[in-house]
């Protein structure tokens, strides 16, 4: 029977759906194809041509944009001659005093530190592989860390929050966007593409065996 058949296979050649535990033989799908779970339709493997290079470029751009968005003015407000500029860090650290300080730290982590850390980890872990070098020390654990952080990276939600804030104070004062806002908007866009291009199974496989980059080239 099929079940005893697959039970004899070396577990290293198998892939289990993380959502429903269905077991498959892992096979790299052809170009433009994706391997999905037959039972719950979760995408299991979705490689893309030259994905490594593109992901590194996106991560570098994200790094620059986060740093830029932190230093340049973000939003500008004016009312009756009073003008105030706020940077991203001002917003993140705006909860001062007592227990609200915790909230400041949490917001800073969600909109600055986590996106920054994920960009740095991506470059460190995948950079060498893209240039045909062996995976750097600790690559597997660091990539795992980056994956755990994924739901806690909330840059795109913060960007929508800016739009809501703009409307909220519209009759109170005049609000305008600074350069950092547009950098941040760019960051959101790049983050979405980044997550779409990254085939996690291919990365894990490449990090485990250290030959991912070369094999990708052979099939490309």
């Amino acid at each position: 029977m099929h079940s005893t058949d697959i039970a004899q296979v070396d577990p290293g050649e198998l892939i289990a759906c993380p959502q429903c535990d269905a077991l498959y033989r892992a096979r790299m799908p052809g170009h433009g194809e994706r391997a999905t779970c037959a039972r719950c339709h979760t995408v299991l493997i979705a490689p893309r041509k030259r994905a490594g290079m593109i992901i590194i470029a996106l991560a570098a751009a994200q790094l620059i944009l986060v740093l830029g968005a932190v230093w340049f003015p973000f939003l500008k407000i004016s009312r009756q001659g009073f003008v105030n500029n706020a940077t991203l860090l001002d917003a993140a650290l705006s909860f001062t005093g007592g227990p609200l300080l915790v909230l400041s730290l949490a917001v800073t982590a969600l909109i600055v530190l986590v996106p920054l850390a994920r960009a740095i980890l991506t470059i460190y872990v995948l950079g060498p592989l893209v240039f045909d070098r062996p995976a750097p020390p600790g690559a597997l654990r660091l990539f795992a860390m980056s994956e755990e952080m994924r739901p806690w990276s909330m840059a795109e939600i913060f960007a929508l929050g800016c739009a809501v804030a703009l409307v909220k104070v519209a009759d109170l004062a005049h609000l305008s966007f600074g350069p950092a806002f547009w950098m941040f908007a760019g960051l959101v866009f790049l983050t979405v593409i980044h997550d779409r291009w990254m085939c996690r199974w291919s990365v894990w496989q490449a990090l485990e065996h250290g030959y991912g980059a070369r094999r990708d080239k052979a099939t490309a």
Binding site: H2, S3, I6, A7, P11, L14, I15, A16, C17, P18, Q19, C20, D21, A22, L23, Y24, A38, C40, L75, I77, R79, Q80, F82, N84, A86, A91, A92, S94, F95, P99, L100, L103, A106, V107, L110, I111, L140, F143, A144, E147, E148, P151, M154, I157, F158, L160, G161, V164, A165, V167, K168, V169, D171, L172, A173, R200, W201, W204, L207, E208
Partner: protein
């Protein structure tokens, strides 16, 4: 109809983080380091613990003011719902709708959905595993977006500091609401979706035999 073989049925244990498969009984994923369990039996108690914590924070989040706005010499305090109603009355019904959906509809929907999923894997359900799994995916994806109201408060507090003309300060509800969002995200993450499919198998197996 028989579905694909599961890792558990074939005597393996799978890593839910990196999808690597290991011989049954392996304690930790040799690839990504995640502790391995064929089925997370403590999953449901962790789901409920975070769920209760989230709900306990959600109540004060709605009772206390989110924002304290001072314009010239008048100060007003807005709760989440109060702020949205004010926005709607001031000609921004669309934004009011975003706030209401993100801060009221999504959190409440999430509490209901997680509770229902947790109960259904214990007691079984007539709803197909496909739709329940779909619901789980939606809950996981959408839960983060509730954080938007906290961010709006952060932005307004940083920005609206115009001496005498106007100033905005955060209220205690901001912290309670942020905690509620974080706890419900942890509750959803603690849920092991493989339980939905196991139960489905038990249900369909029992069907023809009975």
């Amino acid at each position: 109809m028989s579905g694909p073989v599961t890792a558990r049925a074939a005597g393996f244990v799978a890593c839910t983080r990196c999808t690597r498969v290991w011989p049954g009984g392996t304690a930790q994923c040799g690839r990504c380091g995640k502790p391995l369990v064929s089925r997370d039996t403590h999953s449901l108690s962790r789901v409920w613990a975070w769920w209760v914590a989230g709900l306990l924070c959600y109540i004060p989040a709605n009772l206390y003011p989110m924002l304290r706005t001072r314009v010239l010499f008048t100060t007003s305090e807005d709760t989440i719902v109060g702020g949205a109603v004010e926005l709607a009355l001031h000609g921004a019904p669309f934004v009011a709708l975003i706030i209401l959906v993100a801060s009221v509809a999504i959190p409440i929907g999430k509490f209901v959905a997680i509770a229902w999923l947790a109960v259904s894997v214990r007691r079984g359900s007539r709803t197909t595993p496909h739709s329940r799994h779909r619901m789980y995916e939606i809950v996981e994806y959408i839960g983060r977006w509730s954080m938007i109201d906290v961010f709006v408060v952060a932005i307004l507090t940083a920005l609206v500091q115009l001496n005498l003309a106007a100033s905005i300060k955060p209220g205690p509800a901001a912290l309670a609401f942020a905690l509620s969002v974080i706890f419900t995200m942890l509750s959803a993450q603690a849920f092991d979706p493989r339980l939905i499919w196991d139960r489905a198998e038990d249900d369909t197996d029992a069907g023809p035999r009975a």
